[in-house]
């Protein structure tokens, strides 16, 4: 069967009643199964289109190169400013991915297909957050060596804590970013709306990320307070977003 339309296509067959009976009438997928299916679908779409990752990489690369030509800091100065530079670059780059995450759900109005299904709203939200986390984590993994080379970075404090800061900080960015991107998808200028909503509410998290990174790179003070603050921020905002997402998804 070719699947093409026209006079050559075969006549449509009505589904046999027994075929319908094979389908479990109300077998509910576990929310975790739906989250995994949605995540795999998003990863597959991104692998095929590379919409988000290409834009993020290009943007971050520009930031690294332009800033490295604009400043010529000593190693000590680099350690002081690198935290801010790195996280601001990742924040701006993440916005690109966050805008894409819902844009592909709006094409052909596929989001409506999710809304009419019995799948829980939070499964969709968690899948989107985890997907964005993976995209931004890939970006960070690829860009961090460049930052280290261009800014001659070396951690004087406990370097392993940088991984913790990166994980908690990235989660803070993507959990709020995914939520506010969903809020802004029905607005006319959503690319502008997202940073307007996201950046102010991310200030405590960015402050904690920058301070913790600077503390670890310079070794002058402990990053513990800032890491705890980041963890608390993540917990509060993840809970809040999960509680409110269904309302956002079903808003007209």
């Amino acid at each position: 069967m070719s699947g093409t339309l026209g006079t050559s296509s075969p006549p449509l067959q009505t589904p046999r009643p027994e075929a319908a009976a094979e389908v479990p009438p109300s077998a509910a997928s576990a929310p975790s199964g739906i989250t995994r299916a949605t995540l795999l679908k998003d990863l597959r779409l991104e692998w095929r289109s590379k919409d988000a990752i290409n834009s993020m990489l290009f943007f971050s690369l520009l930031v690294v190169v332009v800033f490295s030509f604009s400043f010529d800091p000593s190693a000590e100065e680099s350690r002081q400013i690198a935290g801010g530079l790195v996280w601001v670059a990742f924040l701006f780059a993440a916005v690109v991915a966050l805008n894409q995450t819902w844009a592909r759900e709006l094409r052909n109005q596929v989001l409506d297909a999710y809304r009419v299904s019995p799948a829980p709203a939070n499964s969709l939200f968690l899948a989107k957050v985890i997907g964005n986390f993976i995209f931004v984590a890939v970006l960070e993994t690829l860009m961090t060596p460049l930052f280290i080379i261009f800014y001659r970075l070396r951690a004087i404090g406990p370097a392993w804590q940088l991984l913790l800061v990166a994980a908690l900080g990235t989660w803070a960015l993507v959990v709020n970013g995914t939520f506010f991107a969903a809020m802004s998808i029905r607005t006319r200028s959503r690319e502008i709306m997202l940073p307007l909503l996201l950046f102010p509410i991310s200030i405590p998290a960015i402050l904690a990320m920058v301070q913790a990174t600077a503390a670890i790179l310079t070794g002058e003070y402990s990053a513990r307070f800032w890491i705890v603050l980041l963890g608390t921020y993540d917990l509060v905002f993840t809970t809040g977003c999960l509680l409110l997402f269904e309302t956002v998804l079903n808003a007209e």
Binding site: S9, P10, T14, I34, N108, D112
Partner: protein, 226 residues
């Protein structure tokens, strides 16, 4: 109207978008196992009515009862919705799309996607992404998605638009067969003549209201025409 309990009851349904009322007090009952064609000019409220039945629009006032429930969430497994856009991911093939949507409905039967794709006259082995389908193929695949969860109620918005006449007639035959199996079908269309002999009732809408219900397809009944 028959004595059988209605599958959908709509009572004084009003839907406003800002100051514009898309539905202005729709009241109707729809019996099960019937094929309804919803007709009317652009802006008559057909799509808004369908989206409200599908739980995508919230009524501004009035009530919608489907299969005895006022909450769409409770009966969403029994409803299949086909919109004017395809509701499919362009980057994935038909079977990949349906595989994903099957998971949302908890459908464990791995063959179900292939079965409904065959039922609409497409090839489940087709590896091309949906974005490269012709418009008619997209419509068929969209119908396959709506059929995936074996719903008791099918809400179809312009199912025959951009479909060639031969394929559209095939789709009508399929829908009539589904009606004969006990499904209740609502099809919003501008190609009402296609449904002559297949639809059980033609529902005419105008300015957000149902103005006539006829068993046979004619031009818009004179008493309701402006």
């Amino acid at each position: 109207m028959t004595d059988i309990a209605p599958v959908i009851t709509v009572s004084n349904l009003i839907k406003q978008f800002g100051r514009f009322a898309a539905l202005r007090g729709v009241t109707a009952e729809f019996a099960p196992s019937r094929f309804y064609a919803i007709l009317g000019d652009n802006g008559a409220g057909k799509t808004t009515l369908l989206r409200t039945l599908a739980g995508l629009n919230h009524p501004s006032s009035g009530q919608v009862t489907i299969l005895g429930s006022n909450k769409f969430r409770n009966i969403c497994r029994e409803v299949g919705y086909m919109a004017h856009p395809a509701l499919l991911y362009d980057e994935m093939s038909g079977i990949e799309n349906l595989g994903y949507f099957a998971r949302l409905y908890g459908i464990a039967d791995g063959k179900r996607g292939a079965d409904v794709i065959r039922a609409v006259g497409l090839d489940p082995e087709l590896t091309r992404p949906v974005g490269q389908y012709s418009q008619g193929m997209r419509q068929r695949m969209s119908l396959a998605r709506a059929l995936l969860n074996d719903p008791r109620i099918l809400l179809l918005d312009e199912p025959f638009s951009n479909v060639d006449l031969h394929s559209a007639r095939d789709m009508v035959r399929l829908l009539a067969g589904l009606r004969d199996q006990g499904k209740t079908i609502f099809a919003v269309t501008h190609q009402a003549s296609l449904l002559e002999g297949a639809a059980d009732e033609f529902i005419w809408m105008e300015a957000g209201k149902i103005v006539a219900r006829t068993a046979e397809f004619t031009e818009m009944p004179k008493e309701s025409a402006r």
